[in-house]
Symmetry: D2
């Protein structure tokens, strides 16, 4: 699958403001980029640094006044896709050290609170089948409602409200998975069939690779509880503990969003 | 400074429970360990993995029934101590990539909410002097009250309540620092003058090293807003985004604490 | 049913502190009190005022230093009991004006958040049968665990955690009922079979009285989702929007609880 | 002062929905209404009931499809205005019984959390002077920013964020006052100089009447920490514990706001 991505963001910064952007498709083995183009209003500086777990880059800039950034790229996605239902979990003590952080409670995924519910509601499945049951439970219980959540909404409120947008669906699945001792992280992505078109968010869970005969052998698998995106169609931008790590913009000052236009189309 | 540390934890696990321990002083360049001894009730397994940022280890175990772990070590602390008041901040775009995660909102440190307060209350200091002002503000505004907070208490509630225990003090300083674009992380530690004696928690901030002529050159500095521990007296156990990463025990099941005895004394 | 109640509270007030007590069984038509005795450490003043909806009294006192209050009474309960399953709801526009406040979100019962869940999970029942289904759902989903909640725990957290103590059970049922447009309030009570013995809390819902041919005719019915108390065994102390209105003590200063002994036995 | 008020609300109800409106200026001694006109789309029913503390009415309606309500009135305000700075507080034990509920924690005003801050920050004033100091502190510390809060924002978050809209200012002052044992309630009002023009919200506090020689003699005084409205210019719609009691619309179902137009002008 090849996606053609085009993003335009425009802001007005009332004062000189440092900000951090995460809007480019990540250059990682499973994503081959071509025809990339990034243009911005000239700013005080422009620095790229590796983002969380070396998936993608973060761009630091600083600017005052009107600002615009345009990004375009074609992304050929060559991701190994496995039906998660068939994958066992990795026993906690076999988990690779770097995945353990994705068991911990985070800003939007206070997983500890969900242990009792998970133990009861998903008592009969394990591993990937349990994740699939969680995904299906969320898909069946939640309604997707634009504007029904805000930047303070955690998986707690989403679980009670039974509604939200993509990030709320992802946060809830991440909290569920962690409560079951399965590492789960947040992926900020581009995907073609998102309605309304916008940056998209999905969960990623760490499950065992049954074809490799070594304890702890496993890999990350994208799971979208909204059902809007399939792993083979997803271009990752950044990953993190939750949305707090993956905002398309984080700023230190005040910023007014003037325009946000995103287009993602299948081109191959 | 050499500290002699002795810790005993006893739990009762009603069902077979996976758990993660972070109770050993970290083996890192600034801490030289000797006479270490770790003994536990025999359990289903025992695995050590590197903890966050390779500071210390995490131990995975699984057990049912009564469980006890005893740990002892002598820790010679050889930490470079700098008066933080004199240290500049590292400009955001010069920050080493791995420190940027410590600017983000986390479970107990939703820093974004504090930006307006920080911009106003600490408008006239920068860098380490600003951190010192934040530390002093917390020390002056808060009262230390055992039992005044719980495992859900974030920096938001601590800031409103103006009281808490060491972890609440640390969370508040971390949230303040991040709101000022200064990376800040949580350190779970041993320290000798903690009252009542227990695991202790402090903040650690990333500031520039003015003696090195390279953008981004900097290091982490321990800061204790409770005033109970000095950096030269602190033995680090683990570091993380906040207390969620550094619990002395995280378990998947139900556990009843039977005993927790901690002793930390200066021996050299 | 007659209950014999005996309560002893002891506090230490470090500074002169105003406080409000709600510990006496209410003198209301459905409760006939005898052998009442209230003795306290002499204090700066002692004033009784009617409590919420004229159910019971509140006592204001002010004291510094050690303080003790002892209360005893026999309460003959003559409450009309109806099987709530058979009672219709009162249409919102027919509700008596003074019950409408019990539809509103309150400190511990932010009912609005539960509307989607209630509409889906309890779609097929109405009125008292719906309340009974909610009560049974909570009883089946929750575990009663002393110490699992705190003074900040709302129905939101209880619903996610699926556990709590009596006040959490009551708050959750109240939030559910209000989300269904059925007025619900909190009752602080004495009941004989509470384990461990303590002040108890239940919900009270307003349902139609089908024997009276007038729109809005209805009455309040006690419902205990913990299953520990039956309406005919319950001596009401106070009612309110939620626990915030009915604390056995509310103080303006600092107070240390020294002793709390409660005994409730059936004597007739 | 006479205000001329005109309000138009339009909604689209996707399903038959019960809703409660609180949009009319209250008929109370201090407000003389004339030229009132209320017109609505015909609906399934229309019932008025007295609102909280008998200040104003609540209107119940039920409708499906497009709905519009228009309200207009002239309100002559004849309110006794006292400089609150000169008014003593009523000692808690002298408070009229019906004011005690306004000391309790409510949905948006969890006052208990603020006791330590209030005791420290406002240690040197009492009564009305203390309220004035609180009002001035909020006015100086907060910035008024449309869109900076949402329907979940409590005084806790507003206090940390140091910003909000009129209801957040009011909630913060109410929480402060209650933490000082001064009854405080929320008033939903019309006022002429509100920018942008909308329903407005202020706090109301209960202070002693020094001209009356009786313990507990006191009255309610409007206080607007945003500084946008003066008591003599305010037409009360409803009062309550906080915004949860005074929403201009509360509905049981789903409603889409189509239009909200409010005009308030001085006409005498």
């Amino acid at each position: 699958m090849t996606l053609s991505i085009s993003t335009r963001l425009a802001y007005e910064f009332a004062t000189p403001t440092d900000f951090l952007l995460q809007i480019e498709a990540a250059v990682i083995p499973e994503q081959r980029l071509s025809n990339t183009r990034l243009t911005t209003t000239p700013s005080e500086y422009f620095t790229r640094v590796s983002a969380q777990d070396d998936v993608g880059d973060r761009i630091w800039m600083r600017h005052e006044g009107p600002f615009e950034i345009n990004y375009a790229a074609d992304v050929a996605i060559e991701r190994m896709i496995a039906p998660i239902e068939d994958l066992p979990m990795v026993a906690p003590h076999d988990l690779p050290a770097e995945t353990v952080q994705y068991l911990m409670d985070s800003r939007y995924c206070p997983a500890t609170h969900f242990q009792h519910f998970i133990d009861t509601e998903f008592a009969h499945e394990t591993g990937g089948a349990r994740i699939a049951a969680m995904r299906d439970w969320i898909a069946a219980s939640f309604s997707y409602e634009a504007g029904s959540s805000n930047s303070d909404t955690t998986a707690i409120e989403s679980f009670v409200e039974r509604r939200g947008v993509c990030r709320d669906y992802a946060h809830t699945l991440i909290a569920f998975a962690r409560a079951a001792a399965i590492p789960a992280r947040f992926a900020s992505v581009y995907a073609p069939d998102v309605t309304p078109m916008d940056f998209h968010a999905v969960a990623e869970v760490f499950l065992a690779d049954p074809t490799v005969d070594a304890p702890g052998a496993g890999s990350w698998h994208l799971v979208d509880p909204t059902g809007m995106a399939k792993p083979e169609d997803i271009a990752k931008i950044a990953i993190g503990r939750d949305a707090a790590d993956c905002s398309f913009i984080t700023f230190y000052g005040s910023a007014e969003l003037v325009a946000k236009d995103i287009a993602v189309t299948r081109t191959g």
